[in-house]
Amino acid sequence: MKWNNLGILCDPTNLAFGQGLYCQSPHAIQMKGFVRVYFTTRLRDEKFFFRSFPAYVDFSDDFSVQLGVSDFPLLPLGPLGNFDEHGIFPFQPFLSREGRLMATTTGWSRREAVPAESSIGLAVSSDQGKTFEKVGGGPIFAPLHEEPFLIADGFVLEHNDSYHMFYIAGRKWLHRSGVTERLYKIRHAQSTNLIEWSRTNLNVIPDSLGETECQALPTVIKSSQNWLMAFCFRDAFDFRENPSKGYRIGWARSRDLINWERVDSEYFLTRHFSGWDLQMQAYPNIFTNSTGTYLLYNGNNFGLNGFGIAKLEGEL
């Protein structure tokens, strides 16, 4: 499999909203006659802290033409003290069994001893995805039992009358040389109604960097015989400054959505010649339509300069 890396697709300084900083975690969904890519962008609040808000950009089916952008924000943050009071990142659209356009939201709230806590919320649109409303005020998926903190990145797909969610759960905070960093892994849960979830309570993706591998942003599509997952992974320490420790794209394959094998080398994504993703390739979203199979992702600095796109040569 070979990716044709096409470089930056969406640059935050060209948007009609926001402060020109960050287009993070792109998620594409096919609409009638165009592709809509949801992402989140950051605004600085009155205390100069960042807050992430969801938005979208529309493209032609082959991503060659940008068509329009969302109203902003398309979903407000939560009230004081709520799980999503300080940001929503990522915002992940999916179609419900009844064909309703819904989205999971990862809501963030800041803490004193650690930077933040997160849980997954649910939102639904009744205007073809222009705006969304939250389903209830609280999260649908939050820390519980063996998953004590940092629940995030809920990717939902429907299969055989069941909703599958791939998400990440914080495992522990690691300490090394006076530095504390979080460790999180990809996990899996199932539901019939999107509200009550049964958790498998296992790390479902094998580590390639050992126990201190952090895994994030799983997205899954069906290929001819199997399920294919794109995600990103990095070492728990030193990832902000050291490019060799930064996020890169990982791949996993499964026949049953339960058991996964790593196939990173088969789908290896080369860096773009411009260097915009030289230090980091993060927050991937794999997407297929009639024009081909695409990988949307963020480059250096966690998406500070926007998101880019690569196209698969040939069939998946």
Partner: protein
């Protein structure tokens, strides 16, 4: 029904507890009774300045063993019976209040874990400890995470668990946060009493409904819903206060509710008379009730959230009136 609380007396003060364990402690909160071999044990939460930071306090769980008639102390926990949660955990900064229940041969302790936040003072959720020794001297966590979860209907602040077993089923009355409101620039929460059930103590089924009607206004805070069986049905004693810290109802006071089925509760008609009490005995809250010698004994914290310590009394329930 007519209720009265008699023979109220102070049982333990922070100053006396501090002298027992040779450490400066403030507050004795959320007393919880457990009958152990040879003693009447009372678990409670007490605060000390955090040794690491040297400024902020953390609230932890201790016990004192009293003799048969609650007149003398026979033992005391010199250190907290459970660790605080790890960094980043929901219970990193405190464990208070608590509820103790014996279930299937184990001593279980449900507690509220606290973590300090940024734009509101704290986040809270409910955790589960179990005794690692038969004697209930040390406890460890069942899970690193909470035992119930926030959900679409319960967005933040799960707290005040009170767990009781009736007919082999565990019932948890707890509170769920409704809103944070800025009063004089300070975020103040509102929370209401709810219920969940469990057959194993780990997995809980919520009923998803506020149980107790407001006495002050819609912003009142309800806490410590303690339930006991009486001859006909069940009695709840709970604490409530205004969400404002400056008005006349800012201190917790108690009220009663009555139910036939544990889910539907009426706060009327109950005739509640409290005998005249000394100043330090006003504003008692966070009641824990247990049966002893055919009577309901009541443990409670004294004013200012237990800064004055805890007390004991006898609750007289006259169902004929």
């Amino acid at each position: 029904m007519k209720l009265s609380l008699i023979n109220k007396q102070i049982l333990l003060t922070p100053a006396y507890f501090s002298s027992l364990i040779q450490r400066e402690m403030s507050h004795i909160q959320s007393p919880a009774f457990l009958k152990v071999v040879g003693a009447n044990r009372i678990y409670f939460c007490s605060r000390a300045i955090d040794e690491k930071s040297g400024e902020k306090h953390s609230s932890r769980i201790y016990y004192v063993d009293f003799d048969e008639n609650f007149t003398g102390i026979s033992d005391v926990s010199r250190v907290a019976v459970a660790q605080l949660g790890d960094r980043g955990a929901f219970d990193q900064h405190g464990t208070c209040p608590i509820s103790v229940v014996e279930f299937q041969g184990k001593i279980l302790m449900y507690y509220v874990g606290w973590a300090r936040s940024r734009d509101v003072p704290y986040a809270a959720n409910i955790g589960l400890l179990h005794s690692t020794s038969e004697s209930g001297v040390e406890f460890s966590r069942f899970f690193p995470g909470p035992v119930i979860s926030f959900d679409q209907d319960e967005p933040f602040l799960l707290g005040s668990p009170r767990v009781k077993e009736f007919n082999g089923i565990l019932y948890m009355w707890y509170v769920s946060g409704k809103s944070w409101n800025l009063l004089n620039g300070q975020p103040e929460p509102t929370y209401k009493i709810r219920m969940a059930t469990s057959v194993d103590g780990h997995t809980w089924q919520k009923t998803g409904k506020d149980l107790i009607q407001n006495s002050i206004d819609e912003y009142e805070c309800q806490a410590a819903p303690e339930v006991i069986p009486i001859k006909e049905g069940f009695l709840m004693i709970y604490s409530y206060r205004s969400n404002s810290r400056v008005n006349e109802n800012s201190e917790y006071q108690i009220n009663f509710a009555y139910s036939k089925d544990l889910l539907n509760w009426a706060t009327e008609p109950i005739d509640w008379t409290q005998p005249k009490v000394s100043v330090s005995m006003r504003n008692t809250s966070y009641y824990n009730l247990f049966r002893r010698k055919g009577e309901f004994q009541a443990l409670f914290q004294l004013e200012k959230m237990g800064q004055a310590g805890i007390g004991i009394g006898t609750l007289v329930v006259d169902e004929e009136k």
